[in-house]
């Protein structure tokens, strides 16, 4: 496969940012949320390359959001980029704390343990009255590089631009990572972690590092969600929030970074349209949509445009994995 140079990937990011100028206000905030969710889902895709899916990204997402909200409120930091960085650092710290613990688990147990940890965090947040309990609390409107935006449209566009650029850069970083030696070793861990250990590479360390990367993404995304809503509550850490991130990742498939953004945007569009026209049944629409994608696009939305390009490479790979799965089941 011909590889696209990372600098070339900057073009769609810049284009998407400038395109925001033409979007009406309601799509702008929708796209901001979509970009922010895509960032968490991107982290899940990074981690999923080691064969582990985290059902508790809500934990890091909420930790990033709460960290930013607390620090911003007490130190008076309103800068959007600074808040994003604080969120990323908070997420990364959480990732460093629990990554080594959970890297020993795999498959369904990894998912369950991350889910448990996020629910512990949720339970703790709900009962912490200092942080507003289940109601949460509000934060002030973000600024950028010392400029505060009075016009709500300008403020929305600023947040859109920062989140799209951040998510885009994260996507490019992920694409570079996937091609690196480390990224390929991560894939090997998914295939067979014992063989990786035999080669003298620590599988646990690879999982931990990938988890920390995912946590940094989720923490930064928590900061965006906070800035977009200007409010935070324990729902950030609830399992359905984490479920939605996995939803986006599976919708996207694990083949293409760009697919994550498309999937996230598609989810937000389906959600807001069904919210508008079918207010009581949007979960039903979402469920049917998810089933349809899993059924008709087993490799995710990304397979719509990567299929042709990789057809030959995949047909040989698919037969070998299919044979292997047959043995495993």
């Amino acid at each position: 496969m011909r590889q696209v140079h990372p600098l070339v990937m900057l073009v769609p990011v810049i284009a998407a940012t400038l395109f925001g100028r033409m979007l009406p206000t309601w799509t702008l905030s929708l796209a901001t949320i979509a970009a922010s969710n895509a960032l968490v889902a991107l982290g899940i895709v990074v981690l999923a390359r080691t064969g582990n899916v985290s059902f508790g990204q809500g934990l890091v997402f909420a930790a990033g959001g709460y960290g930013v909200a607390l620090i911003a409120n007490s130190w008076g930091i309103t800068d959007a980029v600074a808040q994003m960085l604080i969120g990323a650092v908070c997420g990364g710290l959480i990732g460093l704390a629990i990554g080594p613990l959970i890297s020993r688990y795999s498959g369904i147990f990894f998912g369950m343990l991350t889910l448990a940890l996020s629910m512990v965090f949720y339970g703790a947040l709900v009962k912490t009255t200092v942080l507003g309990g289940s109601d949460g609390f509000n934060v002030v409107r973000p600024s950028l590089f010392g400029i505060s935006f009075v016009d709500p449209r300008e403020a929305d566009f600023m947040l859109y631009a920062v989140s799209v650029v951040t998510t885009g850069l994260a996507g490019i970083a992920a694409a570079v990572l996937f091609r690196s030696e480390f990224g390929l070793a991560s894939l090997a861990v998914r295939e067979n972690n014992l063989r990786v250990e035999y080669l003298g590479i620590s599988a646990n360390r690879i999982i931990t590092i990938n988890f920390v990367i995912a946590a940094v993404f989720a923490g930064a995304s928590g900061a965006f969600a906070l800035m977009a809503q200007r409010h935070i509550d324990p729902q950030f850490a609830y399992w359905t929030t984490s479920g939605e991130f996995v939803f986006v990742a599976v919708l996207a498939g694990y083949q293409s970074v760009a697919a994550v953004f498309v999937a996230s945007l598609a989810l937000e569009l389906v959600r807001s349209f069904s919210n508008l026209y079918l207010p009581n049944t949007w979960q039903l629409v979402l469920g049917v949509f998810l089933l349809a994608v899993i059924l008709f696009l087993p490799r995710g939305i990304g397979s719509l445009w990567t299929r042709q390009r990789r057809k030959r490479a995949e047909s040989s790979a698919a037969t070998s994995t299919a044979a292997e799965e047959g043995v495993a089941s």
Binding site: Y105, A116, V120
Partner: protein, 298 residues
Amino acid sequence: MNLFLTIVLDGLIEASWLFVVALGLTLVFGVLKILNIAHGSFYALGAYIAATAVTIAAAYSLPPALGFVAMLLSVALIAAVVGLLLERGLLKMFYGRDEVVLLLVTYAVFLILEDTTKLIWGVNPIYASQPYELFGNAEFAGLNYVGYDLLLIPASAAIGLAVWFGLNRTVMGKIVLAVIHNEEMSVSMGVRVNRVYAAAFAFGVLLAALAGALTAPKISMQPGLSSDVIILSFAIVVIGGLGSVEGAAIGAILVGLARAASVHLMPQAELFVIYLIMAAVLMFRPEGLFKRETARRI
């Protein structure tokens, strides 16, 4: 001393219905290898149908005892049919796919059922408290309890024993165990695995719905019920070990006691405590308390 007894009794009552839910979840996982997120929805479905059945029975002025029995039977039947349709009509299409994909399929089913129950029964709380007074009140070591609550404990113990007996002492149960242990081998021995799958799934749904019906008189049915229950029963089966009947029992008792203890001693820590136990168990025994040894492919 009284507080201790209260906690134990409350915990066991809580554990009894949780056990029935978790039993269904763990069986479905054992046979189909699906961690079913929609399991909580089947519980809610059972509770809602039970409420409707109670209301209908009251409208025809049936004696409450008869209405209660009719309610349990009808719930179980409807649920088993729903389960059968879901497994044959939907889940079947996804077998052989990744564990996580199957998890998401059941998540989609959960989302769909959540709204379906809202469409049918609305968003306002529904009550079905008539059967709750059926067995009067009982005094136990100076504590007053509703007879219905106390009877839940032997009822769920009976269900658990019946399932254990069915699995370990009947031919059908042995076949199910064979499928759990090694599906390919069972196929080659002439077991119709598809039927076992369908039956096991329907039975799991039946257990969830039965638990829903049993608890319907105690609670108010409203949206969000299913997601609370699934989170609790996940904790139980993970603590006990996925796919283990004994594990589900121990897990349910642990979670029930922990819930009751935190309600009486530290009400602010309820959810927290349960997940702390789950995390602690996973730290030391990653596959749950009742771990089944499995061979590792190299």
